[in-house]
Assembly symmetry: C2
Homo-oligomer: 169 residues x 2
DNA sequence: TACGACGTGTTATATTGTTGCACAAGCAAG
DNA sequence: CTTGCTTGTGCAACAATATAACACGTCGTA
């Protein structure tokens, strides 16, 4: 069993205030250690992402930023996102054009995402078996693996238990 | 060994004219069987995608279409792409905002893509082991799998043999 | 002080994708 | 054949996502 849940579903009973505070504290420590600056804008964007604990769109973040910082513009948020991506503090969900916080930014990795199509909850796995089987199969074809984009769309435990069905979108 | 290569890399010695003709003939048979219409526009877009045998952007297709059909506009190409996606004749590569032909449109499936970061070549796998390990791991977390987006970026056999390195982008 | 690196403000632009409505082409029932 | 329905296309505008270019300010350091 090599499954590592990097970030669990939001529902799965957790003290979310604590979860956000934790993520910000981790980010601050990590940035200090690396000698990079978690400026107010960057910190605020990271906080907005964690607050919702679900994939956030760049322009939704921009609207929120604008509410408190009149000068915010697209570059403001995209620069912050670039920084956070660079430092591994967030991941980009390609299939949604959205961004989620990473629960384990310390070691660089690519995420394996489970995305609920009903409630938008996202969990991040980092499973060595998944990585290995893909690398092996790709290797069989002579392909050298760089970055894996793995995004699984489906139903989270809560929504499944509530009777939502896959085919109903 | 459950690896099925749905669409191999373009390089791997193949008669490309034949490959395009084949794809179009398959598409025509399939559309007829299903009672849907492979109209001239749809057929032409599919052909443009197969001609290049690599991920094609919507607006690049639009430019090509416009060269021969003055009235072409964004909806023209997006409607054709929607149709082709619906019928499984092409796949969308989320990480590139691009579209590639599917080598096995008959049975619906999601693709597992190997994308060369140097030459843009794409191969499509449809590997049961990959699907299973992901479904199992997701299932362990109570997640019911719907659609998998799997896109591996790296180096194709040709580019790797030519000494291109992963880190050099 | 002077310099250089970095972060931000600002404006404009590029890229990717959608909506709405009118009209035409294909097809089936009468 | 012709009426009416469904599907496909033309067209215009727009929405959503992302980047470019340049000016300016702050801060650490030679
Ligand atoms: Zn939380
Ligand atoms: Zn859910
Ligand atoms: Zn070919
Ligand atoms: Zn290559």
């Amino acid at each position: 069993m090599s499954t590592t849940v990097v970030t669990p579903f939001k529902h799965e009973g957790h003290d979310h205030d604590h979860c956000v505070d934790d993520a910000l504290a981790r980010a601050e420590r990590q940035c200090e250690r690396r000698g990079v600056r978690l400026t107010p804008i960057r910190r605020r964007v990271l906080e907005l992402i964690w607050r919702r604990h679900e994939p956030m769109k760049a322009y939704d973040l921009l609207d929120m930023l604008r509410a408190e910082r009149r000068s915010a513009a697209p570059p403001t948020v995209y620069r912050a996102l670039d920084f956070l991506l660079e430092e591994g503090l967030i991941h980009r969900i390609e299939s949604l054009n959205a961004y989620v916080g990473c629960g384990d930014p310390d070691r660089p990795h690519v995420g394996q995402f489970l995305i609920c199509r009903h409630c938008n909850a996202v969990a991040e796995m980092n499973d060595a078996d998944v990585h290995k089987v893909l690398a092996d199969k790709a290797g069989d074809l002579g392909f050298q693996v760089g970055t894996q984009t793995i995004e699984i769309n489906g139903l989270c435990p809560i929504c499944r238990d509530q009777g939502h069905a896959l085919n109903a979108v």
